[in-house]
Structures are given as structure tokens and as C-alpha cells.
């Protein structure tokens, strides 16, 4: 209810290693999530050795073929092999997901630390964050991309930007909670400087929730990248990504629904897998929340 009193609980101790096996046994969905995610990661890395051909080689004689022994998922309107495009498409999703999670977490961490530490900066920073959160993520990304030359890097920046306030708020809440702990007062009384204390106490407290948050940001980034590419404001058309494969297949949806649905299924499974892993991490690292969510 009141945000201040219910902020962040300081976890007692990291779970014992032996508990992990028991934990996984009790949470089969986490095992499913990890397995799926691992499969997708391996498939993306090993794409060239998984029976794929060049995903961007055009073959006008083989346009819009149905799935067959040669073209497992069929071909698109330029005769490109859909199976290869979908497998390679996973690379973009994962690169964007991981980069956005890393970028947003690092920047958010920096801003959050400063904001939680310096009261004077805090008010301004939080107003800016409120403002950023008022702009829907996709709209913000669209606006950025609309004004730049399409590239994967721009997509990463545009998707990461709206995720930053989430991290800032989390980090700031943790810093403020730590500042209020009685032992901090004791430590400052004995002459240890505040930044030094924060550094020592911050990481063990902030790491678990940050990892969980980063996982969710990763899932969200994969979704938004796909949505942007689907709208034509994302990954440039020459790089296959699940979003733009779907966009290109749209005109043929009534004829060949699988052209749209197959990359969609890969996308959905990937996001689902990342979310399941995130839920598992949250349950493992923050048992207090686990019961509730």
C-alpha cells in the first residue's frame, strides 16, 4: 500500500547449494524454461550446422513453396528458405534481448545509485523517470528509430531506453532501504564513509532482484524488438528477425497461415522460456515474493 514501508526486504542468507536440486524438483516449470531456452540458444549459435542454407539468398524460381523435404518450413515471396530464416532469426532476438538487459541494467544501476545516494539529484531524476514511464515503450522506440537509419544497434538503444526507469526505481529503493538499516548508522558512527558502506552492503542485497529484473527486461526486449520489426520500425529488412519474417509474410496469411505462425511460435516459446527462467530465479532468490506471485 504505502510504497515506502513495503519497499525491499533484505534477504537473510543465500540459499544453500544442496537446495537447488530440491528446488528444481518442486518447480518443474523452471526446468522446462531452462531446457527450452538452452535449446534456442544452441540452435541460434549452431544455426549454420542445422541443415540451414543462406537465409538471405534469393531464389525467384522457388517462391512461396509449401513445406517440403527440401524447404522444411517452405519459402517466402523471394524464394528464401523460411526454416533457415527462422533459425537465424533467433540470433537477432537473443542478441537484442541480452544487450538490452545488460545496457538497461548497467545504466539504470548507475542512475539509481546516484539518485539514491544524492538527495538533491533524486527529485529531478525521479521526475524524469516518471516522465519516461509515461511514454509507452513501443512509442518511444518507434520515435527513436523513425529518426535514425535502421540498424540493430539503434534497435537495442531504442528498446533499452524505456526499460531504464524500471531498473532505476528498483536500485533506488534498495539503496534507500539500506540507508535506513540500523547497522548503517552504527557503521557511520564508527567513521566508515557512506559510499563505502553502500558498496559493501549494496551488491549482496541488490544482485538477486537485479538479476531477476534483467531477465524480465530480456523477455520484454525480445517482444518489443519483434513488435518493432513487425511494424517495419525495427531490424532492417536484410537481417532476418522473427518480427520482420512475420511482417513479410502478412500479405499471404490467408493463403499460407504457417508462414506467419511458425516464426510467431518460435518467438512466443522464446519469451515464455525466458519468463519461466525469470520466475524460477525470483522464487529461488526471493522466497518472500515467491509465495505471492
Amino acid at each position: 500500500m504505502s510504497g515506502a514501508s513495503e519497499s525491499i526486504a533484505i534477504p537473510d542468507a543465500p540459499p544453500a547449494r544442496a537446495g537447488v536440486v530440491a528446488f528444481l524438483r518442486r518447480h518443474p516449470t523452471v526446468v522446462i524454461g531452462c531446457t527450452l531456452l538452452l535449446a534456442i540458444v544452441i540452435a541460434s549459435i549452431a544455426a549454420p550446422w542445422l541443415g540451414t542454407v543462406d537465409p538471405i539468398s534469393i531464389n525467384p524460381g522457388q517462391r512461396l513453396k509449401s513445406p517440403s523435404a527440401e524447404y522444411w518450413f517452405g519459402t517466402d515471396r523471394f524464394g528464401r528458405d523460411l526454416y533457415s530464416r527462422v533459425i537465424y532469426g533467433g540470433r537477432i532476438s537473443l542478441i537484442v534481448g541480452l544487450s538490452v538487459a545488460a545496457l538497461a541494467t548497467v545504466i539504470g544501476l548507475a542512475i539509481g545509485l546516484v539518485s539514491g545516494y544524492l538527495r538533491a539529484v533524486d527529485a529531478v531524476v525521479m521526475r524524469v523517470m516518471d516522465g519516461m514511464m509515461a511514454i509507452p515503450a513501443i512509442m518511444l522506440a518507434i520515435a527513436l528509430i523513425a529518426l535514425s537509419k535502421a540498424s540493430v544497434l539503434i534497435v537495442i538503444i531504442a528498446v533499452a531506453l524505456p526499460e531504464i526507469p524500471r531498473v532505476v526505481r528498483l536500485v533506488r529503493a534498495i539503496v534507500l532501504t539500506i540507508r535506513e538499516q540500523p547497522y548503517i548508522e552504527a557503521a557511520t558512527a564508527t567513521g566508515t564513509s557512506l559510499p563505502r558502506i553502500l558498496l559493501r552492503h549494496f551488491l549482496p542485497n541488490a544482485l538477486p532482484p537485479l538479476i531477476v529484473q534483467a531477465t524480465y527486461i530480456c523477455a520484454s526486449a525480445v517482444l518489443i524488438e519483434a513488435a518493432l520489426s513487425f511494424l517495419g520500425a525495427g531490424t532492417p529488412p536484410e537481417v532476418p528477425s522473427w518480427g520482420n519474417i512475420m511482417a513479410e509474410a502478412r500479405p499471404y496469411f490467408q493463403l499460407k497461415p504457417m508462414m506467419v505462425l511458425l516464426p510467431g511460435i518460435f518467438l512466443a516459446v522464446t519469451v515464455l522460456a525466458i519468463n519461466l527462467v525469470g520466475d524460477g530465479l525470483r522464487d529461488m532468490l526471493d522466497p518472500r515474493l515467491a509465495r505471492k506471485m
Binding site: 500500500m1 516449470t29 521526475r127 524524469v128 516518471d130 516522465g131 519516461m132 514511464m133 509515461a134 511514454i135 509507452p136 515503450a137 513501443i138 512509442m139 518511444l140 518507434i142 520515435a143 527513436l144 528509430i145 523513425a146 529518426l147 535514425s148 537509419k149 523477455a219 517482444l223 518489443i224 519483434a226 513488435a227 513487425f230 511494424l231 517495419g232 520500425a233 512475420m246 496469411f253 490467408q254 497461415p257 506467419v260 505462425l261 510467431g264 511460435i265 518467438l267 512466443a268 519469451v271 515464455l272 525466458i274 519468463n275 519461466l276 520466475d279 509465495r291 505471492k292 506471485m293
Partner: protein, 313 residues
């Protein structure tokens, strides 16, 4: 009460100002010459110069901002580069389908997700609870445009119950209007429902463990009464908060959903504007959407005082 109201409105002003600065800054912080990008690859130097003058990009930055902000205050969002129509007029024309879609989605989501969350919390650990939680993860993971196509495939193509795409204004009859809006609303509602059901369950679990729930049972009240009048009312603040925050999710989803279902609303206007790099239109839409978000959350703030007598700012 009025003091509270005024304070909340005043608190929303900095947010609006930040949004405005942000939207303005986007045009200028983006790498490269915006005029050249807007003009496109085939433009001559002369075209670029013309656009630059039209957008006032040749003026000093501060003057540009205050000119633009001054226009905004008068309700002038500028003109489209592509069609030269006023942006506000373009937005006004596209408002009905988007409003229909969002209101319908809100309606479906809250009406279904809140009861689901309540039942899940009441029967925590049961198969219903597992089902709701499974649905929540699923609804949050499957992108709207994938769901949309699956729904079109099943209900419009295979079963042929509903139209594939398009929008019919309400003025042309209730059923044509409704039949066109069902699939997009359900598509858009899924992620939102997942969010609301999840928070409803969490908030209900919290309240159901409170002492006053035991008191309510000890009074002899029937379970539905205890769940709704006592527990849900106490769980309402976090639920309403998430409904408010979720509007951002909803707005993002509108753009994608309108595109999938070929609905001529603000989302489609956005996509068209991106393809034409019609920047004033993009800016205008972002401002309208952000304004809607701020407004909804202002209403949520007001609701707090109605829902929880302890909240007084």
C-alpha cells in the same frame, strides 16, 4: 478532498513537462540530420533545406522549443509533412476506432481477470489457481500479433464466425461494429489480463491472510461476501494501480493490434507516419498517448482516496 485533488494535478505537471521535453529532444538527439532523414534518400539538397525551414530546424534550439511548446499550449500539434493537414485533425479522425478498442479491452480484461485472480487466490494451490497462473505466464509471453493471427486463423478463416479484419463505425450498426472489434479486443486483452489476474491474486492472497478476514467469517458472512466486500475491497489499491500502469502496455499493444487487424486508428496512423517519417504526426501521437496515460493514472490516484480511507496525501 479538493486540496488532495489539486495537489495530484499539480504533481502531474512535471511529468507532462518532462514528456514534452523528451518528445522535443528526440528529434534533435537522434543521430544525423533529421531534415535529411525525413526527406528520404531520394531528396535533393533543396528539398532538405525546405523541410528544415518548414520544421524550424534552422532556428536556435531554445527558440524552436518555445515556439513548439507555445503552439502545444494552444492545442496546435503542428502539420503533417506528408499531407499538410493539422496533426490534431488527423488524430481526431482516427480517435473512434482506438477508443473503441481500448475501452472494450479494458472492459474485457477487468471483467475477466479480476474474478480469475480472486478465485485463484481463494483456491490457492488448486488446479484453478495453477491454470490462472499458467495463463498469466502464457498471456505475458505470447506477443499480441502472434495471438492476433492465431485468433484470425481459427475464428475468421477456419470457423468463419467473425470478420478477418477491418473496422465498422458504431454509427453503421451495433453488430457490425461489435463483430469487428471482438477479436482485436481479445488479442489486446490477453497480456493485460495476465497482468491484472496476477496482481489480483497476489493482493488477494495478502488480504485473505489478514485478521479481519477471520473476523468476517466469524460474523457468519458467506464466502462470496467475504471475498468481495471484505477482501477484494482491501486488495483494490494495488489492483487499480496496476490497471493504471498497464495502460502503457495497452497503448503499445494498440499500435501492433491495429496493424494486425487493419483498424484505421491511431496505431495505424503511427505506423503510416513511421514509414513516411512524418515526424510531427509521431510527436503528436506520442503526446496524446502519454497524456492519456497521465490522465488515467491521475484518475487512479483519485480512486485511492475512495477505495482506502487511510490514504490522505
Amino acid at each position: 478532498m479538493y486540496v488532495f485533488l489539486i495537489r495530484r494535478v499539480l504533481a502531474a505537471i512535471p511529468v507532462v513537462v518532462v514528456v514534452t521535453i523528451f518528445v522535443f529532444a528526440l528529434l534533435h538527439l537522434a543521430p544525423g540530420d533529421p531534415a535529411a532523414i525525413i526527406a528520404g534518400d531520394l531528396a535533393t539538397a533543396e528539398d532538405v533545406a525546405k523541410i528544415r525551414a518548414k520544421l524550424g530546424l534552422d532556428q536556435p534550439l531554445m527558440i524552436q522549443f518555445f515556439t513548439w511548446a507555445g503552439q502545444l499550449l494552444r492545442g496546435d500539434l503542428g502539420n503533417s509533412i506528408f499531407s499538410a493537414h493539422p496533426v490534431s485533425q488527423l488524430i481526431g479522425q482516427r480517435l473512434e476506432p482506438t477508443l473503441t478498442l481500448t475501452v472494450m479491452t479494458l472492459f474485457i480484461s477487468i471483467l475477466l481477470a479480476v474474478p480469475l485472480g480472486v478465485i485463484a487466490a481463494w483456491r490457492v494451490g488448486s488446479w484453478i489457481d495453477r491454470g490462472v497462473m499458467g495463463f498469466a505466464v502464457f498471456g505475458f509471453s505470447v506477443p499480441g500479433f502472434v495471438i492476433g493471427y492465431v485468433l484470425i486463423w481459427v475464428f475468421a478463416i477456419e470457423l468463419d464466425w467473425l470478420p478477418v479484419q477491418g473496422y465498422t463505425p458504431l454509427a453503421k450498426g451495433f453488430w457490425p461494429w461489435l463483430s469487428n472489434i471482438i477479436l482485436p479486443s481479445v488479442t489486446l486483452a490477453l497480456a493485460y489480463m495476465a497482468l491484472i489476474a496476477r496482481i489480483t491474486r497476489a493482493a488477494m492472497l495478502e488480504t485473505l491472510s489478514q485478521d479481519y478476514i477471520r473476523t468476517a467469517h466469524a460474523k457468519g458472512l458467506a464466502t462470496p461476501h467475504v471475498l468481495l466486500r471484505h477482501a477484494l475491497h482491501n486488495a483494490a489499491v494495488p489492483i487499480v494501480t496496476v490497471i493504471g500502469i498497464g495502460v502503457a502496455l495497452l497503448i503499445g499493444g494498440v499500435v501492433v493490434t491495429e496493424s494486425v487487424f487493419a483498424i484505421p486508428g491511431l496505431g495505424r496512423l503511427t505506423v503510416d507516419a513511421i514509414l513516411r517519417r512524418d515526424y510531427p504526426v509521431i510527436q503528436g501521437i506520442i503526446l496524446v498517448f502519454s497524456g492519456a496515460y497521465v490522465l488515467v493514472n491521475l484518475i487512479v490516484d483519485m480512486l485511492y482516496t475512495v477505495l482506502d480511507p487511510r490514504i490522505r496525501y
